[in-house]
Amino acid sequence: MSRELSYAEAIREAMDIALGEDERVILMGEDIGVYGGAFQVTGDLIDKYGPDRVMDTPISELGGAGVAVGAAMTGLRPIFEFQFSDFATLAMEQIVNQAAKVRYMLGGAVSIPLVMRFPAGSGTGAAAQHSQSIEAWLAHVPGLKVVQPATPHDAKGLLLAALDDPDPVMIFEHKLLYKMKGAVPEGRYTVPIGTAELRREGSDVTIVATSIMVHKALEAAKALAEDGIDCEVIDLRTIRPIDRETVLASVRKTSRLICVYEAVKTLGIGAEISAMVAESDAFDYLDAPIVRLGGAECPIPYNPDLEKAAVPQVPDIIAATRDLVEGRR
């Protein structure tokens, strides 16, 4: 019987391990010290490691991110927490122009071993400026790696993998997952960046999902199985670099593809997956049009019904899958 932790606890445990084994690791972020972080992810780590290693920054996202970049360039291994992923818009300069590019524009003379954590996603009633999913913005930038763990196991394993990585890794954590419990092995282990996970094997249709949508897709798959529709569900886990082979192999097997993600549908990860399939030999295995289910073309609204309507929900996945498999598309 394996031990269960919440997603937030799993992240905290990963940071605890990293702080404990490597003096160069520091945590930086707004209110991550005695407050424990806005979502209590850092929790009481400050008690164990002190304020020099669990550093509260001023409300200075651009400056804070830049300090993390400079520190990473000169020997530290910062883990920088944005209080909400939305606030990373204030720090885009440092993330996009500096963290992502310095290594390349210096011809490989330095590495930026920087980990940034982004509490993301809707569902908390926090409306347009505290609920976005901007992972695809960053995934568009060569030099960054972008991961979206969907389970406590992966949250810990990907964070430790990110710390082992010599380049900047952006971790998008869905806020609604923080309380989700799951089996988490003790001690150090890593989940390789760039590997997707087959969460459910199936033969009728491939559903590629990210983050919280993995759970919605699995719930939909369970319901569809009652009707004899057999869904294969892939948890993408990393959106840069994408695990091409896992997706393509699945499409070759099922001949049908649905992409489900919370971020705004247009120009998102679904477009990338669809294009990747269309450009590959898996194209010749498609027996139906590709379907994307993504967020609505609007900011995340406040009203709970509107908020739910703005991102794909289980019934949407069921309906789209049924239409696709039963030949109505």
Partner: protein, 333 residues
Amino acid sequence: MTTANDPWAIRNLSPDQLREALRKMYLIRKFEEGAEDSYTRGLIHGTMHLSIGQEASAVGACIGLSDDDKITSTHRGHGHCVAKGADLGRMFAEFFGKETGYCRGRGGSMHIADVEKGNLGANGIVGGGLPISVGAALSAKRLKTGAVTVCFFGDGANNEGAFHEALNMASVWKLPVVFFCENNGYGMSTSTARSTAVKRISDRAVAYAMPGVTVDGNDFSAVAEAMAQATERARAGDGPTLIESLTYRWRGHSKSDRNRYRTKEEIADWMARDPIRRMADMLIAHDILTDEDITAMEQDADRTIADAIAFAADSPAPDVADLTRDVYTRPLV
């Protein structure tokens, strides 16, 4: 024998240090002229931002630094790079986009770095290096290296939000960093009078509870003196200093500048205050160099530049097959 009336540099630096400082100022001047000439000949791609006229500022700021000390630089960064000890051949090679350049031809003029000498790189984003320098200082403090970081930035960057955030954090955390503002009077075409609410950029230090000083940036001695105090304070753990170095770029903002925003008289006035001539005169006045020595030093600099350009011109170009190398430390498969 020196007296209390002698400039600070004469009293505090050795003749060798002073001669080396002047030599570097010549190298910067000649480097910029060589770069401009190469540009005119079509050997350089893109644009460049020349620092002719600002040599005392760059050399004065770096004279007291070791290779362990870091600098972050700006788009007008050739002088900082030379002052920190870079190899001129590799600098020219970078300008020429060659594989032997500091950035293997990937960065060009605006991103030259020399990490081994502590130069963390020029930056194409105004104010981009400000928070990074604070991060480097944070590393120095946590890892107890004793190093100081000097953050070069221009008057334009003092109006960026990053300036406020970086100076505030450096002060809150008492980090070993010196914010060195090269105020050459213009952010591209917009003068500081039109862009900056305070008369002196150093006045802004008050807001961050750090010392703020303004020096004549064309006076090597004044720059070196202010830097000596600031680095001493930083190494003692007392936190950052803001230095405003008043200087002037003789050339336009970049090669596409038509100089419509300043007068010929203004430019001539500043050229009359040539920092190199002033430094040379000071060394002659204190019997550290003779006119002949200076002529020889200039000729020596010319030869060095010619060699450097020849090295760059003869160097191999990057292989296009390596286009995406160094995006990641470990190549993605």
